[in-house]
């Protein structure tokens, strides 16, 4: 039981004051990024759209988390917590996507996809009774 003393060191529950950056400036950056993400699709290149849409979203989220939510002040634990949750979601995606996204698994097929009849607009004709392989 060595480190009893280290426990209550110096942290004060209340009265710590957050460093306040220039919020209006950050807001202006966020709006500029918003313009970028809206403008992205007009370039017409898919890769550019993806970057302006999702790259910019990540940057925006980072700016909000860092400056508005002060995650850096809130102790490292919170950063780890949020990252862990995101990691779990990534894991969920990785485990689930092969089944939901693929039209062919190593021992199954989705006949309606293969035949091209089923997309979200038009109901497929149910089971693939007539499917030729």
């Amino acid at each position: 039981m060595a480190d009893h003393a280290s426990h209550g060191t110096a942290h004060e529950a209340h009265g710590e004051h957050t460093h306040h950056p220039n919020y209006v400036k950050i807001w202006a950056i966020l709006l500029a990024l918003l313009v970028v993400s809206v403008a992205g699709p007009f370039v017409g290149i898919k890769a550019v759209t993806l970057i302006t849409a999702f790259g910019v979203a990540i940057v925006k989220a980072y700016l909000v988390v860092k400056n508005f939510m002060h995650i850096d002040v809130a102790a490292r634990l919170v950063t780890y917590l949020v990252l862990t949750m995101l990691l779990f979601m990534l894991l969920f995606f990785a485990g689930t996507a092969p089944d939901v996204m693929e039209s062919h698994g190593s021992n199954w097929t989705k006949p309606s996809w293969v035949a091209g009849t089923a997309h979200p607009e038009a109901p497929a004709d149910g089971h693939g009774q007539e499917e030729e392989h």
Binding site: H14, L31, S37, G40, V64, F68, A75, L86, M89, E121
Partner: protein, 194 residues
Amino acid sequence: MSAAASRPIATGRSATGMPTGRLAVWWVIASEIVIFGGLLGSYVMHRLAHDAFAQQAAHTNTWIGAFNTFVLLTSSLSAVLAHKAAEEGNGTKAARFLYYTMAGGVVFIVVKAFEWTSEIQHGFTISSNTFWSFYYTAAGIHAGHVIAGVVIMGIVAQAARKNLELQRVELIGLYWHFVDIVWIFLFPLLYIAK
């Protein structure tokens, strides 16, 4: 502080060095991340697998989405300004900024209501197809969070006006920024990637 008098001693303790309220809100946010994560993860799987989603997404109105993003970003700004005012001990000012934030939330919901009405009139309902199911479900759950945030913010602002419970201004702000971030991801997912 009549409410604080009956508060247990435990609430005032802080073995981690972080105020309990802030810690709790971060845990709330953590559990919300996985709720939205599960939903958006499922959406992304379908979106990537079905080209038809892109055709459907073309029917959404980017300008309305962009306007709502603007509204939420701006309301986040006033939420954080309220936090700053609360830390300076200025309850009146904090409450005023909170009211601006609430106004932002209300504008968001009203715009959303008009947008949905027009979409439903064009025949895109929640049961039209999987894209629209995800569209209404994700945006609907998000809108529910916005409404809850506005209501709670109203309660916090009432107290803040009387210089009471000022630490709550930061807490509701944290939640509001999280709701903002969810929208930051919903916007490209539902409106931009066509």
